[in-house]
């Protein structure tokens, strides 16, 4: 007797697919749970974690933001190998405004978000008309080159960077701002990508001539996606500038480019939630592995390769599938 694997929706999933869900607590909980878990979890975690792990949570939020930014770009047909560019640009704008003009973090951070995003978008504008691979290459090179430029021209503090910047009011503010931004970005941009606007962006990824043929200026939409993503990255950079009270060449480090990609790939590209999940897994993991030093990055590299080849859908899709469906073996019908 030959058997095949069959996947069907769970009973509760089928029951909760309709308006009648609102009549049943069980079904409502089933739907709400995956959304409430991260929200409640993220809001409560800072209260129960010690100071060191609070910093880790902060780091998780920042890398998750970078991963979300990467994912939005990837869904819009742009593969970025240089999230560090967005991060570093935001970091420097915030640092410069704080140091040379003395503006408070509550002014520099929003300013850096918008201006940093604008600068990065302008910088990458010429590449948008080319094939995707150019975008990947240019985003890889530019942060690395910018490091050399800063080193050579010694602007903005050169190799030493700018230190003694204003901090945020307290560690609580730091963590909660990061977490709040993460939750807002995750749910807000998920909404955006599910809307018709997001459909256009995904269409550009799928078949850009078809979108052009529908009377839509794909370059303008790519610019918008790029601005949104780079603004998110710039926000992360600006926030960290004020957390560390320092900005320097390390903000363009390869680490900030690679870890977000690894997080998105491990968690599942194509869903912003996957990127977040990946960050929640990889960042604490890398903290735990701090003892092994440089081997960390070797692991990131291997993770990237293994996941992209063997489990390209990512962990989030896998979990989602398990949550909504179950598998069983059935006989092959004659």
């Amino acid at each position: 007797m030959k058997k095949r694997k069959e996947r069907i929706d769970r009973g509760i999933k089928a029951r909760s697919g309709d308006i009648f869900t609102v009549c049943s607590w069980r079904e409502m909980t089933y739907l709400a749970f995956p959304r409430l878990l991260p929200i409640v979890g993220c809001l409560l975690l800072p209260l129960i974690l010690s100071g060191y792990w609070q910093k880790v949570l902060l780091s998780v939020a920042v890398f998750a933001l970078l991963a979300i930014s990467w994912d939005i770009l990837a869904q819009s047909s742009m593969v970025s190998l240089g999230q560090a560019l967005f991060f570093g640009m935001g970091a420097y704008v915030a640092g410069v405004f704080n140091h040379y003009f003395g503006w408070s973090p509550f002014v520099t951070i929003p300013l850096a978000t918008v201006l940093g995003g604008a600068f990065c978008t302008l910088l990458l504008l010429p590449v948008l008309r080319l094939r995707g691979i150019y975008f990947a290459m240019v985003t890889l090179i530019i942060p690395l080159m910018l490091v050399r430029v800063i080193e050579a021209s010694k602007i903005f503090g050169g190799t030493e960077g700018i230190s003694g910047l204003s901090p945020l009011p307290s560690a609580w503010v730091e963590v909660y701002v990061a977490v709040a931004a993460l939750l807002a970005a995750l749910f807000g941009f998920r909404r955006m990508m599910d809307s018709d606007y997001g459909l256009v962006l995904k269409g550009i990824n799928d078949n850009d001539r078809s979108v052009m043929n529908a009377g839509i200026n794909i370059y303008w939409y790519k610019v918008q996606a790029l601005f949104i993503s780079s603004a998110i990255g710039a926000f992360a950079g600006a926030l960290m500038t004020h957390v560390y009270m320092f900005v320097g060449m390390p903000v363009f480090a390869l680490d900030y480019s690679i870890l977000p990609i690894a997080a998105a790939v491990v968690g599942g590209p194509g869903t912003l939630a996957g990127a977040t999940l990946g960050a929640f897994i990889l960042v604490p993991l890398s903290e735990l592995l701090r003892g092994i030093g440089g081997l960390r990055i070797v692991f990131y590299g291997l993770f990237l390769v293994i996941f992209i080849v063997a489990l390209p859908e990512g962990l989030f899709h896998y979990i989602q599938r398990k949550y909504f469906q179950f598998e069983r073996l059935v006989e092959v019908e004659k």
Binding site: D196, Y197, L199, V200, K202, G203, D206, N207, R209, S210, V211, M212, N213, A214, G215, I216, N217, I218
Partner: protein, 250 residues
């Protein structure tokens, strides 16, 4: 009928490297007519469409639509003026269901402008449009992912995407290719209805019998040059056309 032709193509030339794909082609299309463009393979029919719709820039020559010179305009700007085309090799969004495919044209600035800046429910409009081209509502075909649809439905989807843009000039590139006789017969009424709505249509076709029944005028291309133009019967009696299709005796 307007005094000024809707579309004027004059002295178009296009060379790809050393190959002269289009050589001094000129023709006019009047508002409300159905022009058929035929010719052997490789004669440049799709290139003409690409030149008119902005996907390829001409080496020289002009394309004038509604009095505006649209030569070398970007495709999306031309679409906004009211020109829509289908692709010979259909380009659906394979990952999306059929009706979601329609959302993208419905999102375009052209539709937004015509609707006065507001839309209705795009999903409902999409389903209606698909029904108009033959996606039976009660079989829920419109909800199927495009990658599982057969060619007949994909061609209809392609047509629906073009119609969604509410064009004044509709260019159909080999719409009938790959379809059975029954499928072609079922699509002809759709085209007739479009004509009744006052749309101008250009059809590139290989299936001459079906085309001659509905076309007002025929234009024949061979090796990038226009070799005949006129009513269907005239054109088929033309010696040059016969040579192009059937060849000459050695």
């Amino acid at each position: 009928m307007n005094a000024r032709p809707l579309l004027q193509v004059s002295q178009l030339r296009k060379a790809f490297g050393g190959v002269q794909a289009i050589n001094q082609v000129s023709f006019d299309v009047s508002s409300g007519e159905l022009l058929g463009i035929i010719g052997p393979n490789g004669s440049g029919k799709t290139t003409i469409v690409n030149l008119i719709t902005g996907f390829v820039k001409p080496t020289s020559g002009e394309v004038i639509y509604k009095g505006t010179n649209i030569t070398s305009w970007a495709p999306h700007r031309i679409v906004r003026l009211g020109v829509a085309r289908t692709f010979q090799m259909v380009k659906p969004f394979y990952q999306l269901p059929a009706y979601k495919n329609m959302i993208i044209p419905l999102y375009s600035p052209r539709v937004k402008g015509l609707a006065g800046g507001k839309y209705g429910d795009r999903n409902a409009v999409a389903l209606d449009l698909l029904e108009d081209v033959g996606f039976e509502r009660d079989s829920f075909v419109a909800y199927k992912v495009a990658s599982v649809l057969p060619q007949g439905y994909l061609k209809r989807l392609e047509l629906a995407k073009a119609i969604a843009l509410q064009p004044d000039l509709l260019i159909l590139d080999e719409l009938f290719s790959g379809l059975s006789l029954a499928e072609v017969a079922s699509m002809v009424p759709i085209i007739e209805k479009l004509r009744q709505e006052g749309k101008t249509i250009i059809m590139i076709e290989h299936r001459l019998k079906e085309l001659f029944r509905i076309a007002d005028r025929i234009l024949v291309l061979n090796y990038g040059t226009k070799i005949a133009e006129g009513a269907a019967e005239q054109v088929m009696e033309n010696d040059a056309v016969k040579n192009a299709y059937l060849g000459t005796e050695a």
